[in-house]
Subunit: 236 residues, 2 copies
DNA sequence: CCGCATCCGTTTCGATACTG
DNA sequence: CAGTATCGAAACGGATGCGG
């Protein structure tokens, strides 16, 4: 019978929430599994496909551990489907802010995708949400459509007094941005590529208010330098 | 000669900021090293002491990688000191929000410290800052003093319209909270322990406005369930 | 097919000993 | 004090096989 396999569990042996969090999330692939499940339930094989390089054994162990800690729950689909899906439980969904901060920070180290780099269209909204401006941003709404082999994604970026919000629903955008290059979108959002250049050189098509497109980068911001406001680093 | 040591570099081969971030931060000890440096420059030996279990070789490799990526910089002290310290560079300081979110999330998995668990007084302000309420919180200021073998720490928790702030400076607190048990403070802050019980059972001493102490837990909140506001998990 | 276990070569980790 | 060298143990990646 399927008696519980070991499910190894590393411990730092520290009384610290950060240590505890990284004990749970720090192993290879774990946070990427969470990222996949943040966009909805997935089957074992779906996860393998989105995560080239995970061995099935590691994926099994990771899912078992996430289930054990109630970050993830396994759910059986209706009989005809004859399959089960993994979905985030409450504690797993609570990881969204963590993931968004990591995205926000990680963007500065993102490099142009190489030939062998994998990409899923679903990752784009996450990337945009991560660098969404937190303070007041232009009151414009831009719809972004990304075409990809797996069908692509669409999302809407809307600025406002309380910051920029990224949603899946498209409603009355001022401008529409269409491309098949995730790099172009990210470069545009981070200001590394001027909108005009993106249209000219990249495969970027635009419709609607051109002024909204010009101001598109203002909807975003990179991570601030974090002036150590809490922990008063007493730099000699 | 000191030819470049390998400094292994794992890659997920994905065009995703989260993957990039975890490539950099996901190895064992890395984020805990960052945590230590968030409270100021440290020497190699200081880090080893605060991180029981790191082997010197792993610490060397981690620091080399962090330096390579400009998260950390090595600085030579004035001649008489005859030593070097490691300190966070800009990209390292920018990790504070990431660390705070991880703390906020990790608190729910924190267990009472076992006999062998290590603890540094410096970690307490980080823990409190992680669970500081982001919305309006009571306009009270509580000074927290933690006594410990290594000297202890003091910090102040202040509520206000824009949320709770944790600082190292103590100024005009409404109440003062003194203890030698970090667990008692965290249990108090998370509402797992009633203030009255903490005073009675735990080694918790209080001065000043008792009402402020009663409302102390209101200054904090745990991570919300994260309703997936961005990535619309289409749960079938 | 799908979920998962097993085997195996390689990488990474942890503990100890050693060097400038 | 600040690392380097070494070595056994554990974790990882890839392939293969088994039961539903």
């Amino acid at each position: 019978m399927g008696h519980t396999p070991p499910v190894p569990e590393f411990r730092y042996a520290q009384f610290c929430p950060l240590a505890r969090a990284t004990e749970i999330l720090g192993e290879r692939w774990t946070l990427l599994i969470v990222r996949e499940l943040l966009t909805g339930p997935k089957r074992f094989a779906d996860l393998r496909r989105a995560l080239p390089g995970v061995s099935s054994s590691v994926l099994t162990v990771r899912l078992a551990r996430l289930e054990e800690l109630d970050l993830v729950a396994q759910r059986a689909l209706r009989p005809p489907a004859a399959s089960t899906v993994y979905e985030l439980a409450e504690a797993g969904r609570a990881l969204l802010p963590v993931v968004l901060e990591l995205v926000r920070w990680g963007v500065r180290f993102l490099q142009p995708p190489g030939e062998r780099d994998h990409f899923e269209a679903d990752w784009l909204p996450l990337g945009l949400a991560g660098i969404a401006r937190r303070g007041p941003s232009p009151s414009i709404a831009v719809a972004v459509h990304l075409a990809a082999a797996d069908g692509g994604v669409s999302c809407q970026v809307r600025g406002g007094r309380r910051g920029t919000v990224v949603t899946r629903e498209i409603a009355r955008p001022d401008a529409t941005l269409e491309t098949d290059s995730p790099l172009a979108v990210m470069a545009l959002a981070t200001g590394m590529l001027a909108p005009a250049d993106a249209v000219r050189s990249g495969g970027l098509r635009v419709e609607g208010d051109l002024d909204a497109l010009t101001r598109f980068p203002e909807l975003f911001e990179l991570a601030p330098s974090g002036a150590g406001h809490v922990l008063g680093a007493d730099i000699d």
